[in-house]
């Protein structure tokens, strides 16, 4: 006997939905409708323009043009006004009368325009709204304008499009994610990365390899780059609290919303893309490794007090090195070898994409599949398995149902399966590039502690050995045995339904989920000590991290549009929005394998890790926008928010906003004024608003963490706790104007903004003698920041043979820590002294502090008593009139006497200054790690209709200081450094018995003023001006004429050659002014914390951005 089971509620809902759609669809047939159709072309080139929104004015009824520029949709019979919208083109309007059952042909020719105030935005606006009605700025990035750009992921698509959006590429490994900052840092400790939405659904924006797998800092992937770039229609960027208020808590660092493509009605349209490319690191960014022999023969080495065997096998003896390299090496003559280049190769990229779209009056669809593969320019595959590889298989689909003109249902899905590999890198002593850079050619040998072979006479070994002369930790070949991999499955799905209950009233709901599961692994094989050198995990090890995150988004809102007579209009929006985030991060470690096994459970030493975190954020919002005669708009609104960080009994937080937009150029009187010919568009605007950032879910509690002991499980102090914890709140206001001239062929957009973050969450260090050394979040900070965003564009030529658009943008920005409530400053990197970026009251965020040498007494302020140098004095106290130190700076004469004999550099410890006399010589302000100015400029041109040329340059300058830690080592460190030519030369001069005292004196000055660095001189000689100008993008596209394309069976066809990071102009002498030690998630996968926030501009043995060249063919039919 069968038992009947109740129908699941989900099934009932689905059935109801299907019936409703069916009934509604039939309703369409019953009404009197006609058809609007036509073609939209570029007025200049006469080529069809796709992605143009063609719609009935005052409604959302409309469609998008296809690749052939065609559009078609049904409308109710009667008189109608049809408008077009497309970024980069001026809006066009036509009127028509539609008869029931008849079709009307309306063709549009669009003109390029530099002003784009008619673009509709939804992010942060409550409801779909033209930009000109908003008092705050919203940046729209139209993906179709980037179609030819050499941008292979979302991060690159965002780069250089808006001056306030800084995309920090971190480094040049394949698939390396970028950090993103919008108007700098809004928070001291919480994530300064914007929150990201895809089609209304909050998505995982994390980075890195999870809690338990580290690569050294870089090579970290970004979950943002899981989003299929081919499926993106456009992106909207909200830049600050004045714009992000309706997103409430978590949004003060900005919001990025990505909209995926929709299908256009018509027959199935197929589009294919194939892109092949190659990449190379710029070799000039890596100076060769230098060294010199200390002795002529092994006998002289022994005579100097060394043991015989080392002198014969590994110490810097000229005779031995001459045999090793097959060339003559002489004592104290600096010679170079470039070991780094052995790790580089020509990288390869391949991208394949296929899309189909189409539909009818009731349903449209879009489906895209993309496969991307990159084997980056990091090579060395002959040395070991470490590699930089990034692969992504992506599928995106959307379904738009329009059962009636009142109901729209949109379903979107996106899925990415990604594989990522990166070598250990950046500030890790187990990284192949790092150790290659620190190699000493004079220490090259084929004999190590536990293995040996013979020199091949050409700078190599016939077997195991240390042919690059690393001084410690592991050989380059052993470093190449370490691999870091990650496999990710990432799904984003949403359903959005809107119902136009009345002509003036619409209800909309969105429900979505983002699911990401990433499995990361760091692995060293059982026999990874291939050269018998390393003592780090010679038995192998493996660490695994499994990070899964689920974000559920639910949003509902009602939009009520009304008119009050002919002058006034109102749009009221009210709704609620909530997120439930569940993060689980589990890991295991296994060390010392008994054989060639690759699972953690095979390790003799085993460990396990786990972290679980659930966060709930929910709020309601309301907004009223009042318009007067379509040129003045006042918007007021707010959001009331609650967050699980404060528990269910806590109070909520209210974030208000207000904005005003005035566009006098829309006034009828404007047209007849004297300004018309000069100022075709003029708008002023202002906005003020708040949004916040929350602490972690458990930061307010006093907690103890498990800490096992030999006698059993134990507990240790963990979080000090703060029951008064609350969100920090950013208040931002902005004033701006848009100006259009020459019939909108020239445009200027200027925004001035100020932001104050109060109750800023700060990781306060309480006295560790109190037992809780962990940093405790407290609302004691304040940041004040501000700046200008300037965007200019100009269409100087717009003829049939040449259309040229020039653009330039710039941001000038400042940000200061104005309060810390008496809490001590915090430094990036904890107690690691070589990172000098601080959060310190009264200074710019991320300011640099460190050691200084005494300056000339003539420059010392009157009344100051700190150490200084008079003419003829040097920053040393190595000697004195009596030949012994006399607590006074040494004169030239004293030093000449001192340098009459060779001196080891280790004895040359320069004098430091303590200007404020507080006993800390490392607290001198040395600059800031963020530039005053950043931006981009470039051009887009259409030449003889079928050729498109695009170029983008990006720059940063103005008080931009980079920590060149790489060269600080290479200049100073006796073990893993002093191998830049000038450092080796200084040391050779000091030690060479043939040097004169005058030469040694000069060398000692170079040592003090240019080379001496690292502890206890942290900050000295390691900062450089980081300004740069980079030729970021160049692309040339040939659009094959339709007549030719048709011969191959294609409706359209284009061929593009493009290059990225083609040239760099900078005074910076390090690897690359854009490398960042921590990458995206290298310090924290959740992107928060001092290190992740302010560890910028630290060049610590990173990879330069490679030059990449791509060739792309796009076809469709």
């Amino acid at each position: 006997m069968r038992t009947s089971r109740p129908i699941p509620s989900s099934a009932r809902i689905a059935a109801t939905l299907v019936v409703a759609v069916y009934l509604c669809a039939n309703g369409v047939v019953a009404q009197g409708t006609g058809t609007i159709r036509g073609t939209v072309t570029d007025a200049l080139t006469k080529r069809p323009v796709d992605g143009v929104q063609v719609y009935v004015a005052g409604t959302e009824l409309g469609t998008l043009t296809g690749a052939d520029g065609r559009y078609q949709f049904s409308v109710r019979a009667g008189d109608i006004e049809i408008r077009t919208r497309r970024v980069g083109f001026a809006a066009e309007v036509q009127k028509a009368t539609v008869a029931a059952g008849r079709a009307v042909e309306l063709n549009f020719e669009l003109r390029l325009a530099a002003v784009a105030l008619d673009v509709v935005v939804v992010t942060g606006a409550g409801a779909e709204t033209e930009k000109r009605k908003l008092g705050n700025t919203v940046t729209t990035i139209d993906a179709s304008t980037l179609r030819n750009a050499p941008a292979s992921n979302v991060s690159e698509q965002l780069s250089a499009r808006d001056p306030a959006v800084a995309v920090l590429p971190s480094g040049g490994l394949a698939g390396e994610g970028a950090q993103i900052r919008i108007r700098g840092a809004a928070s001291l400790t919480q994530a300064n990365e914007p929150v990201v939405y895809v089609d209304g659904v909050r998505v995982d924006r994390s980075g890195g390899f999870g809690d338990n797998v580290g690569t050294g800092g870089g090579g970290t992937p970004s979950r943002l780059d899981d989003i299929n770039p081919e499926a993106i229609d456009h992106m909207e960027v909200l830049k600050g609290a004045a714009a992000t208020t309706l997103y409430g808590t978590e949004a003060s660092a900005g919001v990025i919303q990505i909209f995926t493509k929709k299908g256009a009605r018509g027959a199935p349209r197929w589009d294919f893309m194939s892109e092949q490319g190659f990449s190379r690191y710029p070799p000039s960014r890596y100076p060769a490794e230098a060294g010199f022999a200390r002795w002529d023969t092994w006998q002289s080495c022994v005579a100097a007090g060394n043991d015989t065997v080392p002198c014969q096998t590994k110490l810097p003896v000229a005779g031995r090195l001459s045999q090793f390299y097959g060339t003559t090496i002489r004592p104290f003559e600096v010679f170079e070898r470039n070991f780094v280049q052995r790790l580089f190769e020509t990288g390869y990229t391949g991208t394949y994409s296929a899309a189909v779209s189409g539909g009818n009056t009731g349903v449209t669809y879009y489906v895209n599949g993309r496969y991307f593969t990159e084997n980056g320019p990091f090579g060395g595959s002959n040395l070991g398995p470490a590699a930089d590889v990034d692969r992504k298989a992506q599928a995106t689909a959307s379904l738009d149902l329009v059962p009636t003109d009142r109901i729209k249902v949109r379903v979107t899905t996106g899925y990415t399966d990604a594989h990522h590999e990166t070598p250990t890198n950046n500030n890790s002593i187990y990284a192949p590039l790092t150790n290659a850079m620190f190699s000493h050619p004079e220490l090259a040998t084929c004999v190590t502690v536990r293995a040996s072979s013979q020199p091949d006479g050409n700078g190599g070994c016939t077997g195991p050995g240390n042919p690059t002369g690393v001084a410690s930790f592991g050989t380059v070949r052993e470093d190449m045995q370490r691999t870091n991999k990650q496999d990710t499955k990432h799904f984003i799905g949403s359903i959005n339904a809107s119902y136009q209950a009345l002509p003036s009233l619409a209800v909309e709901g969105t429900l979505g989920v983002d699911m990401s599961s990433q499995l990361s692994q760091g692995f060293r094989a059982f026999d990874n000590d291939v050269d018998g050198f390393t003592l780090v995990a010679p038995g192998g090890s493996k660490v695994v991290d499994n990070r899964t995150q689920r974000i559920v988004t639910a949003e509902g809102k009602t939009t009520w549009r009304r008119s009050f007579g002919p002058q006034w209009a109102s749009t009221f929006v009210a709704g609620g929005q909530g997120f439930i985030t569940k993060l689980e991060d589990e890991g295991s470690f296994g060390g010392v394998f008994p054989a060639r096994l690759e699972v953690t459970v095979a390790g003799f030493n085993q460990n396990a890790f786990e972290r679980s975190l659930q966060t709930v954020n929910a709020g309601v919002f309301g907004q009223e926008q009042l318009g007067f005669r379509d040129y003045a708009f006042l918007t007021v609104g707010g959001r009331y928010d609650r967050n699980s960080a404060f528990g269910k009994t806590s109070k909520g937080v209210f974030y208000p906003k207000a904005s005003l937009s005035l566009q006098p150029s829309l006034l009828p009187s404007w047209a007849g004024s004297r300004f018309t010919s000069r100022l075709s568009t003029f708008r002023v605007r202002g906005a003020i608003g708040q949004s916040g950032l929350q602490p972690g879910a458990f930061d307010k509690f006093t907690t103890f963490s498990p800490l096992g002991s030999e006698l059993g499980p134990g507990l240790a102090p963990n979080n000090l706790g703060n029951p008064d914890l609350k969100p920090e709140v950013s208040t931002e206001w902005e004033l701006g104007t848009e100006l259009g001239a020459l019939s909108d062929r020239a445009a200027l957009d200027i925004t001035y903004w100020r932001r104050r973050t109060r109750d800023a969450l700060y990781l306060r260090q309480y006295a560790p003698s109190g037992g809780f050394p962990s940093l405790q979040l407290s609302n004691v900070g304040e940041i004040k920041s501000g700046g200008y965003d300037i965007i200019a564009s100009f269409l100087p030529v717009n003829t049939g043979k040449l259309s040229l658009k020039l653009f330039a943008n710039a941001t000038w920005m400042w940000a200061f820590v104005t309060k810390l409530g008496g809490a001590p400053p915090l430094k990036v990197g904890g107690s690691y002294p070589r990172y000098r970026n601080f959060v310190k009251e009264g200074y710019p965020v991320g300011a640099l502090f460190g050691a200084k040498l005494p300056g000339p007494c003539s420059a010392r302020p009157a009344g100051a008593t700190y150490r200084c140098l008079n003419p003829g004095e040097n920053p040393y106290d190595l000697t004195g009139p009596a030949g012994t130190p006399d607590r006074k700076p040494d004169t030239d004469a004293e030093l000449l006497a001192y340098f009459a004999v060779p001196r080891a550099l280790n004895l040359l410890n320069p004098l430091l200054v303590d200007e404020n006399g507080n006993g800390d010589p490392l607290d001198h302000y040395l600059g800031k790690s963020t530039p005053d100015w950043q931006g981009a400029f470039g051009m887009n041109a259409t030449v003889v209709r079928n050729f498109e040329l695009g170029a983008v340059f990006e720059y940063k300058f103005g008080n931009y200081t980079i920590t060149n830690l790489t060269d600080a080592f290479r200049k100073s460190n006796p073990m893993i450094g002093r191998n830049l030519r000038r450092a080796a030369q200084v040391e050779a001069t000091m030690l060479n018995p043939a040097s004169t005292a005058q030469e040694r004196l000069a060398a000692s000055r170079t040592w003090a003023y240019e080379l001496k660095a690292l502890s206890p001189y942290d900050g000295l000689n390691q900062n450089e001006n980081g300004k740069f100008l980079r030729f970021r993008e160049l692309s040339l596209t040939y659009n094959v004429p339709a007549s030719y394309a048709n011969r191959f069976g294609f409706g359209h066809m284009s061929i593009t050659a493009a290059g990225r990071n083609l040239a760099l102009w900078t005074p910076y002498t390090g690897i690359d002014p854009e490398t960042n030690e921590y990458g995206r998630g290298g310090a924290s996968p959740d992107l928060g914390g001092i290190d992740q926030n302010f560890g910028q501009a630290i060049d610590a043995f990173g990879f330069a951005l490679p030059r990449r060249f791509t060739f792309t063919v796009r076809v469709g039919f």
Binding site: N306, V309, P310, I429, S472, F473, L502, L535, V536, P538, G556, K557, T558, G575, G576, I580, G591, V592, Q606, E610, Q614, V616, A618, V620, S644, G647, F698, F701, F704, P706, L707, G708, S709, E710, L711, P713, G714, L715, A716, P717, N718, N719, L720, Q765, Y766, A767, P768, S769, G770, G771, P773, G830, S831, D877, L907, N909, D920, M975, S1015, P1016
Partner: protein, 458 residues
């Protein structure tokens, strides 16, 4: 009519929307109450069942703090020599110890502070359970006293100054250099209190450990007085030998309880905590054992001055610390041992002038240690054998390797580590013997008293 319908429809939708929003906010009240499975809330430690875990927490934090500061201590002495890339270790290696920004002492300081606080907290919490009659095993409280005594002895040994009494957000002023010996007084009091409990519970093992640690603290207090008689960093000079009656009595008592070659050690493992030192020395290779013990180029290991053989205890300790690739991070660290108790008694004998008799207390106790090593007996009357003071310093060097005694011995016996810098800038270890570690930057900036009175905290 249309207007009315619009109004009604709007009213309905508005009500629906309002209800929906209220529903969201109400529903979220329960959703907002999320749990924290990662850690334990402080209130849970009020449960008497947590007593063993609290005592174990004290053990784990003290054991970790011990390893953390021992790394710097051993580097500053001649036990370890810097061979790596981190210049902060070089600074210590050459004998400069009072730089408050030295990254390694600055990194170790919080672990020492945590160890002190956690062990004090364990005493307080378990004493409360004990008073309430809810402490199931009183040995847990006795253990807490032992761990706290070790923590206080460690602070007295390793630091020139230290804030004692800080509690969570409330920072205490430092003791001051002249009063640092009060840490030993507290340690002695704690061992006494713990001993009373261990005797009550008849826990012989704890009695031994507490008695030995009290002897250790009493001896250390006498050494401190030797090194700090006239102000900071000014040693007394002279022989450097100390003798303390209480220490001697406790050492003798403890030896009656001890098994042969007894050691109280912190054990480390992959499932608990590592010893902090192994990662830097054995794995990262920032340091190696100093030339004073093992000269790597010739593989010349410290030799017994009487037999000329490689010292078996040094070889054993070095081998144990180095471990294998599986154990290199987890080698045990000795806190106090029968060997040290014998050496305390030998030193007392030396101080008493008992130097020439093979049956005197000096030779008897020295030979007790040598017997543990299987070495032939020392006879102070034999001119071929080292003089007593040299013999004492040798045996302490060999038998207390990596136990936090060597730097004190170098100071009080007027010796210098081979790496100490004697050229400009002359190392503090040379210019101001008796100098140990400072209150470091992390505390200086976070302790309001130190911010207001910086000179007092340095």
């Amino acid at each position: 009519m249309n207007r009315m319908r619009t109004s009604l429809a709007y009213s309905g939708v508005r009500s629906l929307a309002t209800a929906l929003l209220l529903g969201i906010v109400t529903a979220c009240s329960s959703l907002l109450d999320v749990k924290n499975p990662n850690n334990v809330n402080a209130e849970d430690l009020n449960n008497p069942k947590a007593a063993p875990a609290i005592a174990n927490g004290a053990l784990a934090t003290v054991a970790y703090g011990w390893g953390a500061i021992l790394l710097e201590y051993s580097t500053a002495s001649d036990e370890m020599t810097w061979i790596g890339s981190r210049d902060g270790f070089r600074e210590l290696d050459v004998g400069t110890m009072t730089n408050p920004t030295n990254e390694f002492t600055d990194a170790a300081f919080p672990f020492v502070g945590r160890a002190r606080w956690m062990s004090d907290f364990a005493i307080k919490q378990l004493s409360a359970f004990d008073s309430a009659g809810t402490l199931k095993n009183r040995d847990d409280l006795a253990r807490a006293y032992l761990y706290a005594a070790i923590a206080y002895t460690m602070i007295g040994d390793m630091f020139n100054n230290f804030p004692i009494g800080s509690d969570r957000r409330t920072a205490a002023p430092p003791l001051g250099r002249a009063k640092m010996d009060s840490t030993y007084t507290i340690a002695i009091a704690y061992t006494t209190a713990g001993l009373a409990i261990a005797q009550a519970t008849a826990n012989k093992g704890l009695q031994l450990a507490l008695t030995a640690q009290r002897a250790r603290a009493e001896h250390a207090k006498a050494v401190w007085a030797k090194l700090h008689p006239a102000g900071p960093g000014v040693p007394n000079g002279g022989s450097g030998i100390v003798s303390n009656a209480a220490a001697n009595a406790d050492a003798a008592t403890a030896l009656t309880l001890a098994t042969v070659d007894w050691k109280y050690r912190f054990a480390y493992s992959v499932t608990t905590i590592d010893n902090y030192m192994g990662a830097w020395v054995n794995s990262r290779q920032e340091m190696r054992v100093g030339d004073a013990y093992i000269k790597p180029s010739t593989k010349d290991t410290l030799k017994d001055p009487i037999t000329g053989l490689v010292d078996p205890e040094l070889r054993r300790a070095a081998t144990e610390f180095k471990g294998t690739s599986a154990t290199q991070l987890y080698g045990p660290l000795t806190v106090v041992s029968a060997r040290e108790l014998y050496l305390i008694l030998a030193e007392a004998g030396l101080a008493a002038g008992d130097t020439l008799s093979a049956t005197g207390q000096f030779a008897v106790n020295i030979n007790a240690v040598r017997a543990l090593n299987g070495l032939t007996a020392y006879d102070p009357a034999n001119a071929a054998h080292p003089r007593p003071l040299a013999m004492l310093t040798y045996e302490r060097k060999a038998n207390l390797f990596l136990q936090g005694r060597r730097l004190h011995d170098l100071y009080r016996f007027g010796a210098r580590a081979d790496q100490w810098q004697t050229t400009t800038p002359v190392a503090e270890a040379v210019s101001a013997p008796g100098t140990f570690f400072p209150i470091t930057q992390i505390e200086l900036l976070a302790n309001p008293y130190c911010v207001a009175n910086p000179t007092v905290c340095y």
